[in-house]
């Protein structure tokens, strides 16, 4: 598979994943570029990769962590997150309540839930992305799913 094909097939998934985590469109585009630049420079590894999507998301995961680490102490980063005008508009389109429930989960569980339901990734693929044992991913997924469903149910019952 050549680079352009890989980009065409997976850019939306990678972008969605980054946006889900950082909730900033411009930063997400930037990290998307960095992710695919890294992919371009490592294309020789592709033939040995079983799941290109999981590979791409793992690279995106590293790039997000790098970027957040670099920008942690820079005031503009805090400002951009504090600027709620863009986020508010974007989040209205989404399910605000679900967003709130997802925020109650720990970071890894939240991303595992995203991987399972949005990207349809297997436990094995998620284990590779988060560098965790498959059993850990499975149990985190189980408890996170159970919690989310319980909270959704509680909301339906007006609790």
């Amino acid at each position: 598979m050549d680079f352009k094909k890989l980009y065409t097939l997976y850019a939306d998934s990678v972008y969605s994943y980054i946006y889900f985590k950082i909730k900033d469109r411009y930063l997400a585009e930037d990290i998307l570029q960095e992710t695919f630049l890294a992919v371009y420079n490592n294309l020789n590894h592709l033939p040995a990769i079983r799941s290109p999507k999981a590979w791409l998301l793992a690279i995106a995961q590293h790039k997000i962590a790098d970027r957040l680490r670099k920008e942690k102490n820079q005031p503009f980063y805090t400002d951009s997150l504090a600027d709620s005008s863009f986020h508010a508009t974007e989040q209205i389109e989404e399910n605000l309540f679900l967003e709130e429930l997802l925020q109650r989960l720990d970071e890894t569980s939240r991303q595992i839930i995203y991987g399972i339901y949005v990207e349809q990734l297997s436990y094995k693929e998620l284990a590779a992305i988060f560098n965790l044992p498959e059993g850990t991913v499975k149990s985190k997924a189980y408890y996170a799913r159970a919690k989310l469903k319980r909270w959704l149910e509680a909301d339906k019952d007006g609790i």
Partner: protein, 116 residues
């Protein structure tokens, strides 16, 4: 067939990921019809699945293309620089070392770069 919660959730996930074969699907539908607990699990999973689908984002084609062009513009000069450095190092080795040793050194360098 008695199903515990975890098993039910895994089976439902397989259904949502479209991983069941025709026979397994029939069994799945049968369970839905006959097992009220399983039906409740499925309804909850389906709701979660549908709601999370809202997080799927699709970039406009133009924006996607612009980003691709930008990546390629950044990547190509980098690749060009790498090639020049690689050729220079090879020539340098060829000048320093006797002919039969050069391919061995190059192979060793390649192995090192792969293992990195």
């Amino acid at each position: 067939m008695a199903f515990n919660t975890e098993k039910s959730m895994d089976l439902i996930l397989q259904y949502l990921h479209n991983q069941l074969n025709a026979e397994e699907k029939l069994n799945f539908y049968h369970l839905l019809q006959t097992d009220a607990t399983f039906r409740t699990h499925f309804a909850a999973e389906w709701k979660l699945y549908k709601e999370l689908q809202l997080y799927k984002r699709k970039m406009p084609a133009k924006q996607k293309e612009q980003i691709l062009n930008s990546i390629l513009a950044r990547a190509e000069p980098q690749r060009g620089r790498e090639k020049i450095i690689h050729q220079f190092v090879q020539q340098l080795w060829a000048m320093i070392l006797p002919e039969p040793v050069v391919p061995l050194i190059i192979n060793f360098a390649k192995e090192l770069s792969v293992s990195e």
